[in-house]
Symmetry: D2
Subunit: 384 residues, 4 copies
Amino acid sequence: MRVGVWLVGARGSVATTVVVGAAAIRSGLMPPVGCVTETPDFAGAELPPLDALVFGGHDIADVPLVKRAEKLARDGVVPPLLPAAVTGELDEAEGEIREGLGGGSDAGTLRERADRLIGDLVSFRDRRELDRVVVINVASTEPPFERRPEHAGLEALERAMAEPGEVLPASSVYAYAALRAGCPYIDFTPSTGARLPALDELARRMGVPYGGSDAKTGETLVKTALAPMFAARALAVRSWSGTNLLGGGDGATLADPAAGESKKVSKDRALSEILDRRVEGQTHIDYVPHMGEWKTAWDHVMFEGFLGVRMTLQFTWQGCDSALAAPLVLDLARLTARAHQAGRFGPLPELGFFFKDPIGSSEHRLTAQYELLRAWAVELGAGA
Amino acid sequence: MRVGVWLVGARGSVATTVVVGAAAIRSGLMPPVGCVTETPDFAGAELPPLDALVFGGHDIADVPLVKRAEKLARDGVVPPLLPAAVTGELDEAEGEIREGLGGGSDAGTLRERADRLIGDLVSFRDRRELDRVVVINVASTEPPFERRPEHAGLEALERAMAEPGEVLPASSVYAYAALRAGCPYIDFTPSTGARLPALDELARRMGVPYGGSDAKTGETLVKTALAPMFAARALAVRSWSGTNLLGGGDGATLADPAAGESKKVSKDRALSEILDRRVEGQTHIDYVPHMGEWKTAWDHVMFEGFLGVRMTLQFTWQGCDSALAAPLVLDLARLTARAHQAGRFGPLPELGFFFKDPIGSSEHRLTAQYELLRAWAVELGAGA
Amino acid sequence: MRVGVWLVGARGSVATTVVVGAAAIRSGLMPPVGCVTETPDFAGAELPPLDALVFGGHDIADVPLVKRAEKLARDGVVPPLLPAAVTGELDEAEGEIREGLGGGSDAGTLRERADRLIGDLVSFRDRRELDRVVVINVASTEPPFERRPEHAGLEALERAMAEPGEVLPASSVYAYAALRAGCPYIDFTPSTGARLPALDELARRMGVPYGGSDAKTGETLVKTALAPMFAARALAVRSWSGTNLLGGGDGATLADPAAGESKKVSKDRALSEILDRRVEGQTHIDYVPHMGEWKTAWDHVMFEGFLGVRMTLQFTWQGCDSALAAPLVLDLARLTARAHQAGRFGPLPELGFFFKDPIGSSEHRLTAQYELLRAWAVELGAGA
Amino acid sequence: MRVGVWLVGARGSVATTVVVGAAAIRSGLMPPVGCVTETPDFAGAELPPLDALVFGGHDIADVPLVKRAEKLARDGVVPPLLPAAVTGELDEAEGEIREGLGGGSDAGTLRERADRLIGDLVSFRDRRELDRVVVINVASTEPPFERRPEHAGLEALERAMAEPGEVLPASSVYAYAALRAGCPYIDFTPSTGARLPALDELARRMGVPYGGSDAKTGETLVKTALAPMFAARALAVRSWSGTNLLGGGDGATLADPAAGESKKVSKDRALSEILDRRVEGQTHIDYVPHMGEWKTAWDHVMFEGFLGVRMTLQFTWQGCDSALAAPLVLDLARLTARAHQAGRFGPLPELGFFFKDPIGSSEHRLTAQYELLRAWAVELGAGA
Ligand SMILES: NC(=O)c1ccc[n+]([C@@H]2O[C@H](COP(=O)([O-])OP(=O)(O)OC[C@H]3O[C@@H](n4cnc5c(N)ncnc54)[C@H](O)[C@@H]3O)[C@@H](O)[C@H]2O)c1
Ligand SMILES: NC(=O)c1ccc[n+]([C@@H]2O[C@H](COP(=O)([O-])OP(=O)(O)OC[C@H]3O[C@@H](n4cnc5c(N)ncnc54)[C@H](O)[C@@H]3O)[C@@H](O)[C@H]2O)c1
Ligand SMILES: NC(=O)c1ccc[n+]([C@@H]2O[C@H](COP(=O)([O-])OP(=O)(O)OC[C@H]3O[C@@H](n4cnc5c(N)ncnc54)[C@H](O)[C@@H]3O)[C@@H](O)[C@H]2O)c1
Ligand SMILES: NC(=O)c1ccc[n+]([C@@H]2O[C@H](COP(=O)([O-])OP(=O)(O)OC[C@H]3O[C@@H](n4cnc5c(N)ncnc54)[C@H](O)[C@@H]3O)[C@@H](O)[C@H]2O)c1
Ligand code: NA
Ligand code: NA
């Protein structure tokens, strides 16, 4: 099986790290650390090998992928000499990047724009002789987009898309185009993407799976590993406060309060679901440009134990966001391609392990999510 | 079912908090926060109610339980006014405390001393009309005790116990006495206790269960909640360093390097089992008298992600040890009594959730341990 | 010299801790830990002894001081048995509390209201035969109050105060009344207080000193101790981010974004003055009711060293605010009384050591501030 | 003034960073961040400019400086492309490195070996036409060396050095050689170096200054910035615990408990001198090879405030040791050369700001040390 990985936001940090990393692993320069699907638990799942992945995507920036990779090397995200060692693969991916939405040439109705995107996807699949293409949204987070009546059903939506006006945010137009083209769609960001009844309808009608949203790579990852500990020990969490310091392109986007808000909401949900109660405390996302590609999260948890004694747990997470995100993009591409091959369509709740706001699931506990994923891998292997 | 809870180390912080807390919960003064067996997952396990527990124990100190409770109140372990509110229960437990081993009146062979302990247990069970007595060792941690050939089988052991000399450490004499008297034995400490082939033989012969060891209440609790996260995400932990600052009676004991050593060993095992590799880093246990009943642990984890990027997670845990330990003593008493009633004997690996060094199990991952415990609770309920 | 200490906000946490603590130290129950003026550096400054202080104040709450003290004991701010041991002193202070501004009986013009306050101060000074009364504002922080043309000169201000309308916030009416009554005024809070040209004019005319503002007891204290280290070592601080979690009455007030804002401003100034540049990073103040009387601050500093290498310093401060504040109130009362006695009037920049936003000084470095204070103590002693 | 900087341990991390960094700053590639003597406070001190420094040294390793610099670049201590940009300067320094003591060719008495070292220094000074050469010990830390009677006076020492046997550790032979050759000597490490009465005698006789020891670049730097805060506020520090995680060549050396011990002692002294009391708590130095050139220190301070309330301050310092050390080597070279030129001899207590264990001074408070240094700079300027 040859699998296309179509990255919306193909010139971003995450996307570039994906392309560089896949090349480095394929050529044996680096081990696949961070790739969940390379561990023994997934050996039998009949996933497409990393070798089988072919990269392309949409973006609205025009800095060449090689330049982006060199910048990531300067920032310590990828080893200094790696970009030079994989220029072949970078050039190959560069050749498959097309202009995205919002890049200046956005004339026409949404339907017309979607048709252009569909054209890009179909051409990629055909030219590169791919069995399937998984579209993964790793573009900048959008501000929250208000729900509209037209989102409720496919017919109404397509009618509105054929009129002038912006009935959908870009992420949802990308999702629409992917599904219409028969491509599975994964939202790595908290943007709206496929999470609309009309698009769910489309996915089912086209027989393609989709999943998301908002990859869990830092504070929330640790949170959902730790919160079950308090629950299992019957300790009463009273407050959970967090501060996230982040730089990078993503930091700048989230500095826009509206976009930040959509991130915070998906962060907070997990906690109250796991602890089965509302706890005090806020979550801050601060843009600190000097942090560059690095993120620091400090969390403070106050809990009560036996006889009301108050205790605290604090943690500091210092991570490189793109390094945490990139291997998950590879995992998601492989798993989703396999699910598609196996005939799955509609939401993929088994992917909840990867997301802060898992589509189709209210399970947020990390270990429980991992067990669901692992069990699914067994199923996928059995069904091969 | 009326259950006796016989605490070896009955005048210690943990034991005193157990007695005060059980009384406070029974009388509705405090909610059962921290009691795992009071959560819905255990509602059907047919456990003896907290009301059914009757306390007694051995100790070699002679500070009255009421005084100890008042000191705990001054140190913030129990609410200021609580000791006065439960003097009745404290006096009742006081009346059931007998002199332990090493308290000065240790004449005779180990066998003779064990017989005295057995007498105390049997008398307690008879006088108080108890269905069973669970012995729980919450005495000061002993220095590691070297293995001897006599530990290999019960016959050889009993022969040696009948001679002069110290073939067993105190914790194992207590375990011997408990098992001989038909009482389940739980080791809350890292001391040798029942972990000898000869005592396992005795337990099986007498048809009584036992379990342990070394309750997991702080750094290791967090460690075993967090380490599976790295494993599940295929992140390569390179070092895990920890420093524990503790005061209290327990701190003083562990300041003795030999005793501290036995604690460190049980702490380190968990990590390498979960991560399936040896990682760099040391664990320190520092005695800081001014910490009083409080413990602070700082852990620093360095891990590598995608393309070798180095990241860190740090946590600081600030806990009140006795407040964390006491509800687990109640949980262990109830679960073990029920297991005994249900006909279980020999080691109880299902209790691994509570321990740093689980007898009969090499599962250290907190969530997996919890799932085993929960499943067992269902079984215990079904078998009722 | 007999000195009255008139606390605006006399029933608050800080004020109550002041009264309880002064009594405990006087009676030898507790050592004067935290009292700067009790250290050898101040032995020769001819300060009024702690014994010479007599307490009274304004408040608009009516919970009795004894009740407030008992609550503080339950919250761990004062030792459990202390309130009972000093009921005499608490009752004495209780007898000297008068209704403050905003308590419901605020009829009349500001001038009339100020006259009532002046009456309270004069009566206190006369009845208790005090040489002088120092007024210290430890009331809830006010929202920022906009500057008005009338604030520029005393005459215009008094004219406006004689008309209906609120030309001043309460803290400034208290400051006005104090100065008019010939009492030195200290603002322990970030409220406007005496920081208006018209009130400065009044202070000079009346020959009384004043000082403030916003006591430095936590995050900013540590910040101003640490920031000079970076400056002295020529390390380039790039970002300084902070999150403050606080409960208590004060937390609730600061949860009001407007009041919080006035606190943040005084917090931020220090850093840019010490580092001589603007650094990235925000400061958050979160209200977390379960923190009670405790405050936790986490600060993250990123700096560059030789050849651009990035490094970080993080700190976590866990303090009990009232315990940190109360001894400083005693210090300020003693120093200000002595300054008044020595003939000082107008702003007292030498008190900068105690404040986040020191009146009359732009020196924020803690050690430099301490040296100024110490030198002043020598002067005060010499001038005696 | 042309100044030679002779680095004992010339192929180590610190030394290599010094040579790379001096070249980078000289050529304008990097700003002099971290160089104290480049700040305005030192502009008038008539220090030799960075341009005037010429590098050489002793080492017993043979990895070329260029290779060492490339490794430092890979480890993130110096920017990736910098070593290539300064190969000229690296080669120049490479040409001035001579074999040190303990490198295999150590035949003869200590006096004979010292003569060889003296020859190297004199040759360097003559060939390169230097006004003076400052010798700075940045070699691996030695294990503590026991005091001997011969250390008490120069005559006895020289007599013993002329006999077979090792009456001095290597660092002291280097110090002896430096002083004998008329070169000032600075000990950047905790090794014995010049701290012997006999060597003090020699320094005075030769009219050369010396200083040290053990550069203050991490945990102790922060400690001596923070501890005065507690003292100034009359807060009673009860415990101060620290854990240092370090990799690198230095970490490996300090893993040897004997060498680590000499480091710990110099670390602990500061605290008790500043706080004027012994506090509880230990300091750990752990070797964690994966930390590479990075060091993390976690410190936990428990203190009591008013009425005995217990509070804590914790900090985590994450630094790159060589980046912190290298600019100080440049500062020390310039200041010491200037002191020599100005006729100073014997110990230089004014350099205490740079050291954990300042020779000739018991002042450990960072700010006070800085003020002494700054005042000295003024003096040095005035005396020019
Ligand atoms: N890195 C993580 O750990 C992580 C975790 C969860 C979610 N995410 C999300 O992944 C996304 C990518 O992160 P990043 O660090 O790579 O950000 P980035 O800013 O480096 O890259 C985003 C890219 O998207 C492009 N883009 C913006 N709008 C577009 C559009 N309409 N169409 C096509 N391309 C568009 C930009 O030009 C840019 O190249 C963000 O939304 C982020 O929130 C990242
Ligand atoms: N508190 C926790 O979170 C925790 C966790 C794991 C293990 N533990 C273990 O629990 C034990 C109790 O802790 P603690 O804080 O109550 O200590 P503690 O020092 O307050 O109490 C120990 C008691 O044991 C008694 N004792 C000592 N030797 C004895 C003997 N030979 N026979 C009978 N009694 C004896 C002492 O007199 C004392 O009263 C320790 O071994 C500790 O390591 C505690
Ligand atoms: N505790 C610290 O470390 C610290 C540091 C700096 C500043 N402060 C400031 O000190 C003040 C007191 O803090 P607290 O913790 O005692 O708060 P608190 O809420 O416990 O007490 C404030 C008191 O002020 C009274 N009050 C409110 N408005 C009043 C008015 N108009 N006239 C008279 N009384 C009035 C309230 O009734 C209350 O009794 C706050 O403004 C706080 O920001 C405290
Ligand atoms: N980096 C800091 O922040 C810092 C702070 C205080 C002290 N120090 C001290 O500075 C010294 C150097 O640190 P580093 O990180 O560069 O260590 P390093 O291990 O990288 O370098 C030490 C060098 O000394 C050489 N050496 C060993 N024995 C020698 C001898 N007898 N004669 C000559 N050369 C010898 C080694 O071959 C090596 O090249 C250490 O003693 C360290 O403790 C460093
Ligand atoms: Na950190
Ligand atoms: Na903490």
